[in-house]
Amino acid sequence: MAMPKGPRGQDIIAAIKQAGVRHVCVLPDITTSAGLLWPLSEDSELRLIRLSKEDEGVSICAALGYCEKRSVLLMQQTGLMDSLNNIRAVGCDYEQPVCMIVGLLGKEPDRAPTASDSFGVRIIEPVLDAMEIDHILIEGPEDVASLPPAIDRAYENSSPMVALIGRRVEP
């Protein structure tokens, strides 16, 4: 049986631009590297801010929000876990719009995240639920349409949002 298709990187780039995003904070993640990050890094309309550690990006995105500039933080779920305290502080307690696109490393393409064999994948959605953080799941090409409204929602509500990438992004 053929593996289900992942989302297309160019569609995700178009979606974040549609939502007004022009700054992308990033630490590389193999789920999104070839299909999304490499094309994104060559896109002259987007400013890439390369991070040394993911939680820096939470603060940078929040600070850009004060300057009325929309941004996203692109990382792996391990970076999300490492950034939880800053997301809790800046995003949840201080109600700042921090939008995160998170590759789920180790997730099986044909399973829901909560059904994954990987503990690190399985806990992500429950952790986000416990933190009352808005999240969406992008598995296939058809799911990308949910990204612009989720970013809009984060900025309108001044709250964090996570878009989980459940399959390897295709070029």
Binding site: K53, E56, V58, S59, A63
Partner: protein, 193 residues
């Protein structure tokens, strides 16, 4: 060794409309020295002042952004040095108030007290300029250039711990939504299309 308050008074006098990002004990003391709507307070997750400062410097490239970091705070977000060096914001000045202790948490020493060369680390990371100050006269003499030369600029200010009059640790103010709203409103006139 310098007095932190004396350093802050010098920075206040040379501020010239800059955004100032301060954290924890520095934030309380800076508030006492120079209450201003363009003061941004970085708290909630320790270590993030310089990352907030970087975001503001990128978002407002024509606006000077001054960070008043702590040594314990910088230790908690050391990766910021290479990120800032890579972005190379010309408008960012990163001061580290080096008192060698976690003053807001009981005055315990930082792990590297007296051993770590913070300015050396910033220089090695790729900051445009980095220096250490132990005397107020030299700091005051160099301050205009620190604030005017192309950044990112880093300066470690060696100060005595706990020398100030007892601080009012007003955490309600520190975490208040009003404080964030005030800053957002103050930034609006600085925004360009």
């Amino acid at each position: 060794m310098m007095q932190r308050m004396a350093c802050f008074e010098k920075i206040r006098d040379a501020r010239d409309g800059a955004i100032v990002v301060a954290t924890y004990t520095s934030a309380f003391e800076w508030r006492r020295v120079d209450p201003d709507p363009l003061n941004f307070v970085s708290v909630g997750a320790m270590g993030q002042a310089s990352s907030h400062g970087l975001g503001l410097a990128i978002g407002l490239p024509e606006q000077k952004v001054v960070v008043l970091d702590g040594d314990g705070s910088l230790l908690m977000n050391m990766s910021t040095l290479t990120t800032i060096a890579n972005e190379a914001p010309a408008n960012l000045v990163h001061f580290v108030i080096e008192n060698g202790s976690y003053e807001a948490n009981g005055g315990h020493p930082i792990p590297s007290q007296g051993r770590t060369d913070f300015a050396g680390m910033a220089r090695a990371a790729g900051y445009a300029h980095a220096a250490t100050y132990e005397g107020l006269n030299q700091f005051a003499a160099d301050l205009p250039e620190l604030l005017s030369r192309p950044g990112p600029v880093f300066a470690a200010l060696k100060v005595e711990a706990g020398e100030a009059p007892p601080l009012d640790y007003d955490y309600d103010w520190l975490h208040s939504a009003d404080r964030r709203r005030e800053f957002r409103e103050a930034v609006k006139p600085l925004l360009k299309d």
